[in-house]
């Protein structure tokens, strides 16, 4: 059974007014447990609206969102429990920090869940470790930290709720390349420990190609495709057509193909490209 499923999910902003706009249009998808999914789409493609349905911040205009096979809107009063099971980290999450110490801020979510002190402490320490925050930082004020550290505190705040599904909206936006790699690798650490489902929204194909098992592409409010990373990148040309950027290395190989040098495979990471090239060159030498 899929952990998260949508059935004909549709959402229309300001229905009935002249500003009416359908942001998500009849989307059907199934996300299996434990997967690492990359979510891509142009600005205004509906990806942010889509992910806000997964934890019930938005209520579908029509259609359903199923969490472990159950409609999340079945019982309106239980919607808060859904939010504990599906954690959502917004864009620039460091702006939601408010507590006096890092520890307290990370503990805010777990506290709202009504957990006991010992369990809260375990979760805070574990997630702080996963996200790479040193223990001595926990007693500091979050406002003294650097931008990247603040971002990690905010992400830890949601991770500490140990949601079955963790959704991150552009977790690396506005960070330098080093900070970007750091956050991605920490998210991977968390994924390895908990084996929970993770969805990451990103503009950067480069980033997504490096970690995602599957890729979900939204275009003009519709689901463009949802498939294994390899299969999605096999459609690189179509993806370029809807205005998304494919990784640079894929572009190079697309161009090589046009020039008549076809490797017969889709290339989307530099490491893979290197191996492929070395192998090809060796074969030629042998010949």
């Amino acid at each position: 059974m899929a952990i998260l499923e949508t059935q004909e999910l549709t959402y229309t902003y300001s229905q009935g007014s002249p500003f009416e706009k359908t942001a998500v249009d009849h989307v059907n998808l199934k996300i299996e447990e434990g997967e690492m999914v990359g979510v891509m789409g142009h600005t205004g493609s509906g990806k942010s609206t889509l992910i806000q349905h997964f934890n019930g911040l938005l209520k579908p205009t029509s259609g359903k969102v199923l969490l472990e096979g159950r409609d999340i809107w079945e019982n309106k009063d239980k919607i808060r429990d859904v939010r504990f099971q599906v954690g959502l980290v917004f864009q620039y999450p460091e702006y939601q920090i408010f507590e006096e110490t890092v520890y307290k801020d990370i503990a805010f979510g777990p506290k709202n869940m009504g957990l006991d002190e010992a369990e809260i402490k375990r979760r805070v320490l574990e997630t702080a470790h996963d996200i790479g925050l040193k223990e001595e930082l926990l007693d500091r004020s979050p406002f003294e930290l650097s931008g990247g550290q603040k971002r990690r505190v905010a992400i830890a705040g949601v991770m500490a709720m140990e949601p079955k599904v963790l959704i991150l909206d552009e977790p690396t936006a506005g960070l330098d390349p080093a900070g970007r790699d750091k956050i991605i690798s920490h998210i991977k650490t968390y994924h390895e420990r908990t084996k929970n489902t993770i969805l990451i929204v990103s503009h950067s194909m480069e980033d997504i190609a490096g970690f995602a098992d599957k890729i979900l592409v939204m275009s003009k409010a519709k689901l463009f495709c949802y498939d294994d990373t390899k299969k999605v990148f096999a459609r690189s040309e179509e993806i370029s057509e809807i205005g998304l950027d494919v990784p640079q290395i894929t572009k190079v190989f697309m161009e090589l193909k046009k020039q008549g040098l076809d490797f017969g495979k889709e290339v989307y990471t530099v490491g893979y490209a290197k191996d492929l090239l070395i192998r090809q060159l060796k074969e030629r030498e042998v010949r």
Binding site: R83, L88, Q96, F98, G109, M113
Partner: protein, 268 residues
């Protein structure tokens, strides 16, 4: 909830009211308020009502918007009406129960007060609906400029007002975003007991304050980078010009005001 705020909302348009010189519009609004407070009989208020309806029709802004502008002040209106209804004690008694007493004069005054306040809100909403915040503050700056001689910081005040108005929508959007983020962390904001809700407000207010200070700081730097140093020697992109139309509008308003005074005196 937050989207219902209509204060300072501007509806772009090209009606006669929209095109009036904002300085005149402010003066006219003041005369209008005086007109509503001239007499305390219903006929006198009718003059004001006729004037309001006329102005609203000329502005071509949907009447629905004016009804909406009154809505936030509804509780205030109800309290005023109830106080007047029960506390005014003169004329025939309609109803008497223990200390509660409704008299003829009480009914008259409470109806009168409701109409007066509604007209007041509608008239002043008309000003903000038809004038963009920027032109409005420009006009205030010009109208207050004589105070400059008394070393009153007129330009600074106007600049502060335009910045404040400019950031209302930004802050509303920001609040919405922070609220969603905290809800995602399980904060009870629209559910739960009063105490938990109040405590959870902190999780919204702190980030909101911090981001406002940050924004103010960034804006100040950005303004300094462009060599902003106050009003001295500053020229404007939009020069305010008055025309015959503005004087006519002013004249019509004054005529209505005089009519209200006359009615008030005749019926005394």
């Amino acid at each position: 909830m937050l989207k219902d705020i209509t204060i300072g909302q501007y509806f772009p348009g090209d009606s006669i009211i929209h095109r009036l010189d904002p300085r005149f519009k402010i003066i006219i609004t003041f005369i209008y308020i005086l007109m509503l407070f001239t007499g305390s009989n219903i006929l006198c208020l009718t003059v004001g009502a006729v004037y309001t309806v006329m102005a609203i029709l000329l502005s071509r802004i949907p009447c629905k918007m004016f009804v909406k502008s009154v809505r936030p002040l509804l509780p205030f209106l109800i309290i005023t009406a109830l106080l007047n209804l029960f506390l005014v004690d003169s004329g025939d008694t309609y109803f008497h129960w223990k200390f509660l007493k409704i008299t003829e004069e009480g009914v008259n005054i409470s109806v009168f007060m409701i109409i007066r306040i509604v007209l007041l809100i509608m008239g002043s909403s008309l000003l903000t609906y038809t004038t963009s915040p920027i032109t409005l503050t420009d006009a205030i700056e010009r109208l207050l400029s004589p105070l400059k001689k008394l070393k009153f910081p007129v330009h600074e005040l106007a600049m502060m007002m335009s910045i404040a108005l400019r950031f209302i929508p930004t802050l509303i959007e920001e609040t919405d975003k922070i609220m969603s983020a905290q809800k995602a962390r399980g904060a009870e904001i629209d559910s739960g007991s009063f105490m938990t809700r109040a405590r959870n407000m902190i999780s919204i207010l702190v980030p909101l304050f911090i981001s406002s200070f940050r924004r103010a700081d960034e804006l100040a730097t950005a303004m300094e980078c462009r060599c902003y140093n106050g009003g001295e020697g500053r020229t404007r992109l939009r020069q305010l010009k008055s025309s015959a139309r503005d004087y006519i509008a002013l004249a019509v308003t004054i005529i209505f005001y005089i009519a209200a005074i006359v009615v008030a005196h005749i019926l005394k």
